[in-house]
C-alpha cells in the first residue's frame, strides 16, 4: 500500500496578515505535510489581505520541502472574480486547485487539482475531470466510505484526497450571514468575519452547538476528525488526507495523522491525542459512516 500523503488545506477563515504569515512560516519550517494549498476560497473581498505576504509564504513553504498549490475561489459571480480565476489558471508556476468549474476553460487541459467544494460524487464525474487534466481530487466531505471506495476503484488514474480534519464546509451563499448578524450587508461588511478566526458559533434555541459562520460560508460546529478511520481510508485506496487549518496546534495535528498513517500510533490513541492539540473542539466523523455528519461513530 502506498503511504498516505498529507495536504494542508487553505486557511478558510479571515486571519489577520500577521497570524496568517506566521502560521504558514511555522508550517513551512515544522509541519510534516507533503502539500500545502494556499489562497482565498471563501470570499473574494478578502483577497487583498495577504497579497503582500503571499510570495514570501510560498517561498518559505517551498524551501521547507512542501509542494505548493494555489486555490481558486469557491463561488464566482463577479466579473473581477472571473478575471482572478482566469489569471490563476493561466499561470504555470504552481498547480491550481479549482474551487469551481469556471477555471476549467482557462486551464485548457493543464494538470490541476480539484478542491472539495466541487461536486464529485462518482467515478464518472471524476473521469470528466481527469479527461481535462485533473490529477487529484479532494472529495466532498459528506461522502460515505462506501462511495469513496467505489470512486477510487472506478477512476484509478486519479489520486483521491479526503477531508480528514477541520470544521466541515457545509454551505456557501452569495449572502453573508456573518455580516448580517452584525447588522451589516456583504457590500459594507467591514470584514467582521475577521474577528472570528476559528468561526462564529451558531447554537440552537436550546443551547446545542450546531453550526459556525465563516463569512459567506457555513461550517460545522464539530471538527471532522477521521484519524481513527485512517485504516479504513487506506483500505479504500485514498491517496492523501486533507487537514484544514483551525485555531489549534496544526503542527501537532499533522504529526498525529502522520503517526497513525505510518502505523506508529494506534488510531484510537491518535484521536485522544488530537483532543489535546485542539482542546476546544468536539470531533465528528458521521459523514464517513453514512450517519448524520455531527456524530462521532466509534
Amino acid at each position: 500500500m502506498a503511504p498516505l500523503g498529507l495536504t494542508l488545506g487553505p486557511v478558510l477563515y479571515l486571519w489577520d496578515d500577521q497570524r496568517w504569515r506566521d502560521f504558514y512560516f511555522r508550517m513551512a519550517d515544522e509541519a510534516d505535510v507533503d502539500t500545502v494549498v494556499v489562497g482565498e476560497v471563501v470570499c473574494s473581498k478578502r483577497d487583498h489581505f495577504h497579497q503582500d505576504s503571499l510570495a514570501g509564504v510560498i517561498e518559505r513553504l517551498t524551501a521547507g520541502g512542501k509542494k505548493v498549490r494555489l486555490a481558486s475561489l469557491g463561488l464566482v459571480t463577479l466579473e473581477r472574480e472571473r478575471k482572478a480565476v482566469r489569471r490563476l489558471a493561466e499561470q504555470d508556476e504552481f498547480e491550481i486547485e479549482i474551487g469551481e468549474i469556471a477555471a476549467l476553460a482557462a486551464l485548457g487541459g493543464k494538470p490541476h487539482a480539484v478542491g472539495p467544494l466541487v461536486n464529485v460524487y462518482n467515478a464518472a464525474t471524476a473521469k470528466v475531470f481527469a479527461a481535462r487534466g485533473a490529477t487529484s481530487i479532494c472529495l466532498p466531505p459528506e461522502l460515505p466510505v462506501a462511495s469513496i471506495e467505489a470512486i477510487v476503484r472506478g477512476a484509478p488514474e486519479i489520486a483521491f484526497e479526503v477531508f480528514a480534519f477541520g470544521r466541515v464546509p457545509l454551505a456557501i451563499s452569495a449572502r453573508c450571514a456573518h455580516a448580517r448578524i452584525k447588522g451589516l450587508t456583504k457590500d459594507n461588511c467591514q470584514f467582521v468575519c475577521g474577528s472570528d478566526p476559528d468561526g462564529l458559533e451558531v447554537d440552537t434555541l436550546d443551547g446545542q452547538h450546531f453550526l459556525a459562520l465563516n463569512g459567506v460560508q457555513t461550517v460545522s460546529s464539530t471538527c471532522q476528525s477521521l484519524i481513527a478511520d485512517v485504516p479504513a481510508l487506506q483500505a479504500a485506496g485514498v491517496s492523501s488526507l486533507r487537514l484544514s487549518p483551525q485555531v489549534c496546534d496544526m503542527v501537532e495535528v499533522a504529526r498525529l495523522f502522520r503517526a497513525v498513517a505510518s502505523g506508529q500510533l494506534d488510531p484510537a490513541e491518535g484521536l485522544a491525542a488530537l483532543a489535546d492539540a485542539y482542546p476546544q473542539a468536539r470531533f465528528s466523523n458521521g459523514f464517513l459512516h453514512g450517519a448524520p455528519g455531527h456524530e462521532l461513530v466509534a
Partner: protein, 325 residues
Amino acid sequence: MELICPAGTPAAFRDAVEAGADAVYCGFRDETNARNFPGLNFSRDELTASVAFARSHGVKTLVAINTFMRAGNEALWESAVDDAARAGVDAIILADLGLLAYAAERHPELRRHLSVQAGAANADHIGFLVEAFGIKRAVLPRVLTIAEVAAVTRQVACETEVFVFGGLCVMEEGRCSLSSYATGKSPNMQGVCSPASHVRYRKDGAEMVSELGEFTINRFPANEPAGYPTICKGRFVVDGEDGYIFEDPVSLDALSHLDALQAAGVSALKIEGRQRGRSYVAKVVTEIRRQLDAADRSATPSGDTLRRMSEGQRTTEGSYDKRWR
C-alpha cells in the same frame, strides 16, 4: 418567456397544463431528483401518459434527474435518463457531470438543461458545460442579482432560466450539506432536504418546538403556526442573540421584476414547488400566466393570491434585490 411549472403528481401535472404552463417539470419516484418525498413523483407509465397529455395541449415536459449519482449505484440515474428518453420528454434537467456525459453520449438528440443544482453561477462555468456536454439551457442559482443574470445571459451560448416564485434556497444550490449534517440524508445524493422522516414537533410548555434530527430549528409561541424546520430558515443563537440568521421563513416572489428579466434576455421563468399540492399549482400558475400575458405589467399588482400561497405567507425578492446580500 416560457413559463415552467412544477408537478409532483400526475393530477398536478394536468392542472399546470390547463392553467397555462408552457412546460411542466417533474421527476421519477426515487432518489434521482431533488424532491424525493414520500407520495410524490412519477412512475414510468405516469410519465409517458403525462407527456402525451402535455403534447396534446402543445405543452412541453421536462424531467429533473438532478441529484448526484451515488457511487456504486449509477445505474439508477442512468436508467432514469434512458427511460425519460424513451418516454419522449422534451428535455432532461441534470446537475451531475458524469450523468451529463452519459446523456450526451447515449442520447445526443435529447435536449439537456443544466439544473440549478449544478450551481453554475457564472458564464465561464456554463460556457464550459455548453462546450463539453452541449447543454441548451442553464437554470441559474438563486444567488445572482438581475444585473448578473443579464450579464451571464449575454455571455453564454445557451438559454437561461430563472426562478420567479416559490421556495428559496439561501445557500448556493447543490453545494449545501446542512441537512445531511443534521440527518445523514443528503440533498445531493438522496434528493431530500429536511426530510419528513427526521422532523419532529414537540410541545414544551406553551411553545411548539420544531426539530430536525437532534437539533432544535425553531420554537413557536402558542398563537403562531409552527413552520417546517428547514435549517436555513431556522432561528438560532449567535453571540447571545437569537434570530433568523440565514433567512426569514419567506419564499421568493420576483414577479415585480418580469420586465427586467425579459430585458435581460432570460428565456424561461421557473416556479418552484413540486412538493406543493394541486391548489398551489393551479392558483400560482394561473396568476403568473395572467401577469405574463398582461400588456402592461405595472397595472397588474401581484396581490394577495400569491402571497397566501407562499411559505409563511411572506415573500422576498431574494438575490434579485441587491440589498439581500
